[in-house]
Structure formats: structure tokens, C-alpha cells
């Protein structure tokens, strides 16, 4: 098999590669085997991808044979990474036994033949169970979600790791669960159920609902019992017993701005405040009950965020309200206000305007809930205008930042929105002024291994702002050290920093405001000035000295 345009071949069979006389070859070769970590048996038809470690990136693909063996030959000399993946197993990089470890680099010279590379893939697990009602009868078609507790924007959050529904027997099966700690949640969407067989006109309604429940039958994720799923573990019997709850009705009226004549079609969205993102979101439109009224009949009592939106011809309108929905229902009035336009300019310091142009994007910061993005192209004169920005917290993105550059300042009027949240109100008129500088700082360095430890200095290096900007997530930078412990981080915002070198690091770990606390005494703060180059040594924090992440 030969591809003339690339000019080298890939051998699919290890049998072909084994006898290669590589000494005179201008190319390198690698071979190895993929095994099931739990049983030691070979895995066939695993996908092996060879990726160049440095840009420009190229990748090649081959498969394992029935004996688990794979091989690449005729590899141009260079630095490479190697990845193995197969259905039902956790994907792995060469040199990283855990996905939180930095991948290893294969340095291949002409004539090199690296053989005996062994991937031990961890089998994925599963969680299954039955959802039952109060009498022990199965409940079909209930949504089941797999959650993992994490941090987002310095607040605890729950990441969705999978979802399914119960079948006609009330059974569910969550597949391909990566080893780790999980919360299982069930919910029935806004569906009222009758509970008695005899109904009399004039008597109180007999209708109930099922609310979200967290294993084992808790009503809040914080009260759930997390499940620890090991590699290849088949966890069964994670059953739920749904408890019917009183139905609460939300009825409301939308007050339109005086310049809006349309009275129909305001969209209402309801988000429970205490459930993971996107949970149990109910919706309605005004107009279905006449005028500016809306009704969401089937909710369970509790705290909600209620949002109203109207897309106008030129202007969008919205209103957001946080409410505690009592069991007896609630009457709510929402006043629509126009969304704001955010106008501003981007100034470049020491950098040319990139050929492909600049874009400024606003990404919702989760308040109000739901993902939104608004963006605009920066005009040649540096100005931009982002229309119809809903009141709330917005994060700002500027793309592309020149290589080695950084965002020097972002101000909304007088307010610093580089280090503080930007809150847009309907009456926000202040311009957003962004300065991008080409002269970011550079930190290079070496990871050292503590005496007496036989470890690779290949670490996940975290550059963390120190002091008053410790909470500014955009100032954090991450890099992998190579096999000799060398690392380089460019485009650093000037300021005071500390360096940490973790043997294992969850990429989202630093969004937990308490994450770095146990390591603070280890790091020595240093200053990075604009355009400066700092070289530092930092000692590896071995995995056994790390606090549990997530």
C-alpha cells in the first residue's frame, strides 16, 4: 500500500515489520501490541494513530491484528505521539497509563526501530438498574443521566457523561462508562400522572408528578451517593423508587415594551436552580391561552429561573426572574426589556491585524442558564458591534490572538472586565475596549524529579496567577513537559505567578477554587513582565502526594 503523494508506506502487519533491516533506512519504524488491561488478552482491530508531536500535524492510522500486534514502517524521522483506541475500552496515549498524564513522545531518527510498545487499555464499565414506582411497578421511558461532579467558573457543577431511557420493562443500561466516580440521576419530563381511580368533580386534583431523583432516591445531587466504577466493572441493581410529588403550576403574564405591538410568541423557558445544567427544562409560549399569558402546568415545587424571550424584527427582548415555586402554584409578571448592543473596538499593540481578520465573541457565563454565543467581525478600523446581547454575565473571546501575544486589557466603560465578570444590563451603553498585545511573557523551565524517586519528569505543568488575580481563569496556562522535563509557555499576561508540575492533572481541576491550596507552599511566586522571558525549575509533584481531583 503506497501513497505517492506522501511518499512512504504503512504496513498493516507486524509480520511484515519484524524482519525489516532498518539500519540503512532513511525512515523509522515502530511496532507493539494492544492488550486488555484487565485480562492481559490481545485486542484485535484496535485503531492505532501515529500523530506528529509538533506542528504542522500529520497523522497515520493502522489496526491491530488478531494477536493484538500493530506496526508502522517508513516513518519520516521526527517526534511523534501514538494513540490506541477500541470500542469498549478507554483510549490511551503512548507513555500515559492514565488519561490525566501527559502523553509520551517518540523521538524517531532515521533507521530507528522502536518495538515492544505495549498499550494496556482499561475496559469501560456499565451501570444498570430498574426504575420503579411507589408500588414497585416498572416505570418505562424515564430519562436516566450519568453525571460527574466537576467545577465550572469556580463553582461546583455536574458534567453530563451519558444518558439513556428506561425501556418497556423499566430497565436502563448506561454503557461505556470510563472508570471514575459518578452520580446517577433519573427524571420524568413534566408529565402529570393521576393517582386515584375514582375522581369527583369539585374535589382537589389527584394529579402528581415525578421529580428528578439521584441515586439512592435523593432529591438533590449533593445528597446523592456517588458510585465508584472500576475498569470493566458491570454495576447492576442501581434501582430507583420514584416518589410522586405535588404538581405546582406556574402561570404568568408578560408585559411587553410599549414599542412592541406583537402579543404572541414570547418564549418562556424554566430551569430548576438546583439541578445540573439543562435539567428538566420546561417551556411555553404566550398566546396559547390568549393575550400575553402563559402557563406551565406541570412543575414540581422548588426554585427555578424563569426566562422570557421575544425575537423582534430588529431587536430582541428578554426578562429573567428567579422564583421559589410553592406547592400551590405561582402567578408571575415578567417585564420584557430590550437586549443590549455591545459596541467597542479592538486595538493591537505591536502586532499586525491578522489576514483572516479578528472576531470578538461573547459567551454566556451561565447566568441566566443555558449556552448562548454572540459574535461579530472586527472591522478594518478596529470597531465591532455585537447585537442583541441578553442581560447577564458574559465571557469575552478574541480570536485569533497573535502568536506569543495576550489580551492586555478589556474595559467596559470604566470597569475592568479582564479580571472581573462582565455583566450586561438592558441599559448598558458603555463601549467595550479591548487591547491585544503581541508582547506576552514567556516562561520556560525544567521539571526536576525529587531525590530517590525513579519517575519521568514528563509532567503537566500549570502556570497559576498568584495573589489578587488567582481567580482569573483566563490567566491560567497549561503545558506538557517533555521526557527531559523541558517545557515552554508563551503569550503570558504580565503578573505574578507560581509554577506546579503534576504527574497527573485533570484539565478542569484549576476551575476548583480550592484545588491549588494543598500545593501552595511548594510554589515560589515570581513576576513575569511584558515581553520578558523567565526560566524556572520546578519539582515534580508525584501522584501519591496529590489530593484527589474532582
Amino acid at each position: 500500500m503506497r501513497n505517492g503523494s506522501i511518499g512512504f508506506a504503512v504496513w498493516l502487519a507486524i509480520g511484515g515489520a519484524a524482519g525489516v533491516e532498518a539500519a540503512q533506512s532513511p525512515y523509522a519504524a515502530v511496532s507493539g501490541v494492544v492488550l486488555n488491561d484487565a485480562t492481559g488478552t490481545p485486542l484485535r482491530r484496535a485503531v492505532i494513530t501515529l500523530v506528529t508531536a509538533d506542528p504542522p500535524h500529520f497523522e497515520a492510522v493502522t489496526f491491530t491484528e488478531s494477536n493484538g500486534a500493530f506496526g508502522f514502517t517508513a516513518i519520516p524521522p521526527g517526534n511523534y505521539r501514538l494513540r490506541a483506541e477500541v470500542n469498549g475500552f478507554e483510549r490511551a496515549w503512548f507513555g500515559a497509563s492514565d488519561p490525566r498524564r501527559p502523553p509520551g513522545t517518540l523521538k524517531l531518527a532515521a533507521g530507528d526501530y522502536r518495538y515492544g510498545i505495549t498499550f494496556r487499555l482499561r475496559p469501560l464499565g456499565s451501570i444498570s438498574g430498574t426504575v420503579l414506582d411507589a408500588d414497585g411497578d416498572p416505570v418505562p421511558n424515564v430519562q436516566v443521566r450519568l453525571l460527574q461532579s466537576t467545577w465550572r467558573r469556580l463553582k461546583p457543577a455536574y458534567a453530563n457523561e451519558g444518558a439513556t431511557r428506561t425501556d418497556d420493562r423499566g430497565q436502563y443500561h448506561l454503557n461505556e462508562v470510563v472508570p471514575g466516580e459518578y452520580i446517577v440521576m433519573v427524571m420524568q419530563l413534566n408529565e402529570a400522572i393521576a393517582t386515584t381511580s375514582e375522581v369527583t368533580v369539585g374535589q382537589p386534583a389527584n394529579e402528581k408528578m415525578y421529580a428528578a431523583q439521584f441515586y439512592p432516591d435523593a432529591s438533590r445531587p449533593s445528597e446523592a451517593a456517588p458510585l465508584q466504577i472500576g475498569a470493566g466493572e458491570t454495576r447492576e441493581g442501581i434501582d430507583f423508587h420514584l416518589a410522586p410529588r405535588a404538581v405546582a403550576r406556574l402561570h404568568g403574564t408578560v408585559v411587553l415594551p410599549h414599542d412592541v405591538t406583537r402579543s404572541r410568541g414570547v418564549r418562556i423557558a424554566v430551569y430548576p436552580q438546583q439541578l445540573p445544567d439543562g435539567s428538566n427544562q420546561a417551556g411555553a409560549h404566550t398566546g396559547t391561552r390568549g393575550g400575553n399569558e402563559f402557563e406551565i402546568p406541570n412543575l414540581v415545587a422548588g426554585p427555578y429561573v424563569v426566562e422570557a424571550r421575544l425575537d423582534g424584527a430588529e431587536r430582541d427582548y428578554s426578562a429573567v426572574e428567579r422564583v421559589e415555586l410553592p406547592p400551590g402554584g405561582l402567578e408571575l409578571t415578567l417585564r420584557l426589556e430590550p437586549d443590549a448592543d455591545v459596541n467597542g473596538r479592538v486595538d493591537l499593540e505591536g502586532a499586525e491585524r491578522p489576514e483572516e481578520g479578528l472576531r470578538v465573541a461573547l459567551i454566556s457565563g451561565g447566568d441566566p442558564p443555558g449556552y448562548r454565543r454572540r459574535d461579530a467581525v472586527v472591522k478594518p478600523d478596529g470597531t465591532f458591534s455585537i447585537q442583541n446581547v441578553q442581560p447577564g454575565i458574559w465571557d469575552i473571546s478574541v480570536q485569533p490572538v497573535p502568536p506569543g501575544g495576550y489580551i492586555k486589557s478589556m474595559r467596559l466603560g470604566d470597569q475592568d472586565v479582564l479580571t472581573e465578570d462582565m455583566t450586561i444590563r438592558w441599559d448598558t451603553h458603555d463601549p467595550l475596549h479591548i487591547v491585544v498585545s503581541a508582547r506576552g511573557g514567556v516562561v520556560t523551565g525544567t521539571v526536576t524529579v525529587p531525590k530517590g524517586l525513579a519517575r519521568s519528569p514528563r509532567a503537566s505543568v500549570l502556570l497559576a496567577p498568584d495573589g489578587k488575580f488567582a481567580d482569573v481563569l483566563s490567566f491560567y496556562r497549561h503545558a506538557y513537559a517533555d521526557d527531559s522535563g523541558h517545557f515552554e509557555i508563551k503569550g503570558i499576561t504580565p503578573g505574578r505567578y507560581k509554577l506546579y508540575a503534576f504527574e497527573e492533572l485533570d484539565p478542569a481541576a484549576f476551575e476548583d477554587p480550592g484545588f491549588l491550596k494543598p500545593y501552595e507552599p511548594r510554589g515560589q511566586a515570581f513576576d513575569v513582565a511584558e515581553g520578558a522571558h523567565v526560566d524556572r525549575e520546578t519539582e515534580l509533584i508525584p501522584v501519591e502526594q496529590q489530593a484527589p481531583q474532582r
Binding site: 500500500m1 501513497n3 506522501i6 504503512v10 498493516l12 482491530r45 494513530t49 501515529l50 500529520f58 492510522v61 493502522t62 517508513a74 516513518i75 470500542n87 469498549g88 469501560l124 418505562p140 421511558n141 467558573r153 469556580l154 425501556d167 443500561h173 461505556e176 400522572i193 393521576a194 381511580s197 375514582e198 375522581v199 369527583t200 368533580v201 369539585g202 389527584n206 394529579e207 403550576r249 402561570h251 426578562a319 426572574e321 422564583v323 410553592p326 405561582l330 402567578e331 409578571t333 417585564r335 447566568d367 442581560p391 447577564g392 454575565i393 465571557d395 469575552i396 478574541v398 489580551i407 478589556m410 479582564l418 479580571t419 472581573e420 462582565m422 438592558w426 481567580d471 482569573v472 481563569l473
Partner: protein
């Protein structure tokens, strides 16, 4: 760039001051209690065993509607109801409403007078059937994430199509379970759609030369031809296990290309590009699509397996539709990029005239075209007829259209660009070269039918439809309910040969949507020739509904 300062947690309080919150909600006028009652049971339609925990909904002169849950004996009761007409329905997971083309209604109507206690109302539900099995590779490795569809034959414009009635995805052991199936005959179709990596040398990520594989879609029983596939008979509550698939890897091809337009405005918005099997029968099962980003003009549809397809693109701009379609053949080697050019519809001018011997009273009417061919998203051209009989249809896309004239009478002859065409299927090419001349006549016939053996005091209904299947569904079909003496009159029939079917059911009209059943019932119908502006009398034999049900059941 994520920016966050924990010290300054700013709460969103916009509109908080303006909002008013009141507990309890609005007080609506509740229905005043009456003294009537309705009670009954929910039962399994096949075994007549009671069904517990079915949700029974009662609608009628009450607000809000009432809801009860059947008890362990299937029993439910609504009490203190005001007199009136009510509609009862029941749902239960795992059960379906009884369905039949012969018109059994899922909702039962129950009327109660003052003080009346109606008892023994039975609501039947049909237990759903199950088809389950596994999907494995040629080596026996389970395949997760494959879509399995249960499909039934249905009709669109009198042409057969396979409709997905239920889909399921395989789990990590390759297992799937299609449940809640209504009784009937099903095709089971595997369409894994996975984009699998294939071996290749070093290439930049996303390079168009990067090869991929996918699994060959197939029917249970093998292949892509429904005629050769195994149809499974699912009974009420039936359970068909081990309906297994063995999938083979095939090259996954990418259909890519660019969209251009006759008018640049057509590309300012979102362009929808769809790839569907050329065979209408398979369209529902294998349709895939790709969007084109506004201003991007390029599309890419991956995971395509060899076969004959129809590539369709359309866009809306300023209320106008721009569309294009083409049949493409995908072989085993990567196809060349397709360039597809969107065209706006053309104007089609024409006239409507009446026969010289015809003396219709002055009329105001309209002309419309109905699309006969997929895709059905094309808007229907529609025009008012001027006093002089002229009209202009705008936005007519190339394709096959059926003429609909909103005037009393029927089109006796139609010409397009001087060539005679059938009003039931007008082929229109790009640019829609007209004119479209329509010669109408108001001379229609009346048909007087006498149904033999009509049950005394019972219900009798007839279906009258053109014998020529290509004319069905074009406004010539009639369904009518007769009086108890078996006399039924049907007026305003254009001339032609019709078939007449009489039975003792209330609403067999949905049979008209099923050409296969009409074909099977041919021997039970009578042919009637209707002349222009005539008066025709005919006597037709009645098919008892039991016999009709048996013929329908045999065919299904």
C-alpha cells in the same frame, strides 16, 4: 477568554424590581358538580384482562379535564359530572391505542344525561410487541451505537414508502430492543452510520484523502432490497427475539461539493442539502443531510455507501424558494465533487376556458399545483383566475405536478406549450415553458346508489373512486354515509370509470389512502361508468364489516 472573579460574585438582578410575584396562581372558575357518572374498566384488547395504572383522561363540559388511574381491577370512575357528551381515552406505557384502517377510534364518546350513571364502559388497549436482537461484526464483535429501525409499508401519493415506526440504538453488547410496536408486519433495518477510521499513511487531520469505513446498511434477511427482505409479523404483546444482524465494513464515501445559485440572494441564508436514496421506498430509512453555512457554499455528506441517490438542495430567501435536485450514482471509489445550482421557480402563464356548449354562471376561482414527486417541501404555486380566464402561477419548480382547479367543474383537457398533458400528472421542465391552457366543463354526473342487504336501521357507507389508480387522490374520490334504507346519492362526479364499495361501517374512508387494500378488495367492488352530465343509478352489494376486516387483516 474566561474571566471570573470570585470575590465579586455579581448576581443578575435585571427585572427583579419590575417583577411581581403572587402566590397561589389565578383563581379560575371551577366546573360546578353535577349528578351524572361514568365508570368502566381499561382492558387488554386481546385477552380482556384488566390493565392497572392506565391513565384515563376525560374531556367534555368540564374544566380542567379530569384524569384517573385505573386500579388493580382496571376500574375507573368519574363522579358528580354535569350532563353532556364526554370523550374518554386511556394511555399506558407498553400499550397502544387500537388502530385500524377501518376506522376504530382511539377515543370513545360517552354521553350522560342528568343523574345518569353510565357503567361498564370498556376502553381497550393493545399490548405493544417487541423485536430484539444483536448487531455483531463479521468477527462476532458487538457493535454499539447502531440504529435499528422497525419500518412498515405506507403510501405517499399512492406510491409505497417504508416508514420508520420505531427506532432503537444498540448498546455495548450490540443489543437492541424495539418495543411498543403496534401489531403488523415490519421490516427491520440496520443503519449503523458510524464513521470508522481506515488505515492510511501520514496525512494532515481532516485531509479529504483520509479514508474511512462504515457498516453496510441492510434489512433483516439481508440486502437493501425490501422485496428480498424478511418481513416479521408482530402480534399484540408478541416478542420476537434473536433478530440478529452481522454487519460488514465497506468504504465510507463522502459526497461533497458546492452550491451555486442563479440569483446570489439565494445563498445569503442557510442552504439545506439532503442526500436521499433515489428509490422513494427507501427514502425515510436512509436520508442524510448536511447544512451549508451562510455564504460558505460548500457541503460535505459523510458515511455514504454505494448506491443510487437523489441530491437535493434548497434555500428560502425573502419568501421565495430556490431549489435543485439531481440523481447521482455513488460507486466504490470517491465521487467527484458535485456542483449544484439553485434555481428560483419560474412563472407559468395560462388560461382557463369553458366548453363553448357549456354555460357556467360567472365564477371566481383559483388554480393550484400540487407536487407529485419527492421532495414535498416545494411550496405549492397558487393563482387567482382573472375575469378573462387568465392566470399566472409564480415560483413553479421543475417536477411533476397535479392540477387543482378551484372552479365548479373539471378539467376536460389540458395542454402545456401546445402539447396535451394529463391534469393528474403535468411534467414541468426548468423554466416552466407554458402556456398552460385548461379546458373546463361543468357537465358532471350524479350517481344514485342502492345498497343491497343494507341492515335495517344500521349504518351503511360507500366509497367511490376512479378505477385508474393514477387518478386517485386527485379530488375524484368520494366517501358517503347512507340512510338506513340503503339509498346514497353522490353528486358532481366528473365522467369516467369508477369502482364502488359498500359496507356497514361508519368511516372506512382511510381505505382510500391504501392502494394495496383497494386492490385486494377489487373483487368486492362494482365498476360504474359515469358519462358526462348524466344521471346514473346502480345497485351495489354490501360487504359486511367482518368480511372487510378479514380481507384487511389477511393483507396486513
Amino acid at each position: 477568554m474566561n474571566v471570573m472573579c470570585r470575590a465579586l460574585l455579581i448576581l443578575l438582578c435585571v427585572a427583579a424590581a419590575a417583577a411581581q410575584i403572587r402566590r397561589g396562581g389565578p383563581q379560575r372558575q371551577p366546573t360546578a358538580p353535577g349528578d351524572a357518572g361514568i365508570e368502566g374498566i381499561v382492558a387488554d384488547a386481546t385477552t380482556h384482562e384488566p390493565i392497572k395504572k392506565a391513565q384515563v383522561v376525560l374531556n367534555g363540559p368540564i374544566s380542567p379535564r379530569l384524569m384517573a388511574a385505573s386500579d388493580a381491577g382496571g376500574h375507573f370512575a368519574f363522579r358528580d359530572l354535569p350532563a353532556g357528551a364526554y370523550w374518554l381515552s386511556a394511555t399506558k406505557a407498553g400499550y397502544n391505542q387500537p388502530q385500524s384502517v377501518l376506522g376504530v377510534e382511539p377515543v370513545s364518546q360517552v354521553s350522560v344525561g342528568a343523574e345518569e350513571q353510565k357503567k361498564g364502559v370498556e376502553i381497550d388497549l393493545v399490548p405493544g410487541g417487541v423485536i430484539s436482537g444483536h448487531v455483531v461484526t463479521e468477527d462476532g464483535i458487538p457493535v454499539s451505537g447502531c440504529q435499528i429501525a422497525a419500518a412498515q409499508q405506507s403510501y405517499e401519493q399512492n406510491r409505497p414508502v417504508l416508514r420508520n415506526t420505531q427506532t432503537a440504538n444498540t448498546g455495548d453488547k450490540g443489543e437492541y430492543r424495539l418495543h411498543n410496536l403496534a401489531p403488523g408486519r415490519y421490516y427491520v433495518f440496520e443503519h449503523c452510520r458510524q464513521l470508522l477510521p481506515a488505515a492510511h499513511p501520514l496525512l494532515p487531520p481532516g485531509d479529504p484523502r483520509t479514508p474511512h469505513e462504515t457498516y453496510q446498511p441492510q434489512f433483516y434477511g439481508g440486502g437493501l432490497d425490501p422485496a428480498a427482505a424478511t418481513r416479521l409479523n408482530v402480534t399484540a404483546g408478541g416478542n420476537l427475539e434473536d433478530i440478529d444482524f452481522r454487519v460488514t465494513r465497506v468504504a465510507s464515501l463522502t459526497v461533497s461539493g458546492s452550491v451555486t445559485a442563479s440569483e446570489p440572494a439565494a445563498l445569503t441564508g442557510f442552504v439545506n442539502v439532503q442526500l436521499m436514496p433515489a428509490s422513494l421506498l427507501m427514502r425515510d430509512l436512509m436520508m442524510t443531510g448536511a447544512g451549508v453555512v451562510p455564504g460558505g457554499h460548500r457541503f460535505q455528506i459523510r458515511s455514504v455507501t454505494p448506491g443510487s441517490y437523489r441530491l437535493v438542495a434548497f434555500a428560502m430567501h425573502d419568501g421565495r424558494m430556490f431549489a435543485a435536485q439531481r440523481v447521482i450514482e455513488i460507486g466504490t471509489t470517491p465521487p467527484d465533487p458535485e456542483e449544484i445550482s439553485l434555481a428560483g421557480g419560474a412563472d407559468l402563464q395560462g388560461t382557463v376556458q369553458f366548453d363553448a356548449s357549456d354555460q357556467p354562471s360567472p365564477q371566481i376561482g383559483s388554480i393550484a399545483l400540487f407536487p407529485l414527486e419527492a421532495p414535498l417541501f416545494v411550496p405549492q404555486p397558487h393563482a387567482e383566475v382573472e375575469a378573462d380566464g387568465s392566470f399566472t402561477l409564480t415560483g413553479v419548480m421543475p417536477g411533476h405536478w397535479r392540477l387543482n382547479v378551484g372552479l365548479a367543474g373539471y378539467p376536460k383537457s389540458v395542454t402545456l406549450g401546445g402539447q396535451p398533458v394529463s391534469p393528474y400528472d403535468i411534467p414541468i421542465g426548468p423554466g416552466a415553458s407554458g402556456p398552460l391552457h385548461i379546458l373546463m366543463t361543468s357537465k358532471m354526473a350524479d350517481l344514485q346508489l342502492t345498497v343491497e342487504d343494507a341492515p335495517a336501521g344500521g349504518q351503511v357507507s360507500v366509497l367511490v373512486y376512479p378505477e385508474d389508480a393514477s387518478r386517485r387522490g386527485a379530488g375524484l374520490d368520494r366517501a358517503s354515509v347512507g340512510s338506513s334504507n340503503g339509498e346514497i346519492g353522490i353528486g358532481d362526479l366528473p365522467p369516467g370509470r369508477y369502482r364502488v364499495l359498500a359496507t356497514d361501517l361508519a368511516n372506512p374512508w382511510s381505505l382510500l389512502q391504501r392502494p394495496d387494500l383497494l386492490e385486494a378488495l377489487l373483487g368486492h367492488t362494482m365498476a360504474v361508468d359515469v358519462p358526462e352530465s348524466g344521471q346514473v343509478s346502480a345497485t351495489v352489494g354490501l360487504i359486511p364489516h367482518e368480511e372487510l376486516a378479514k380481507i384487511v387483516a389477511d393483507k396486513q
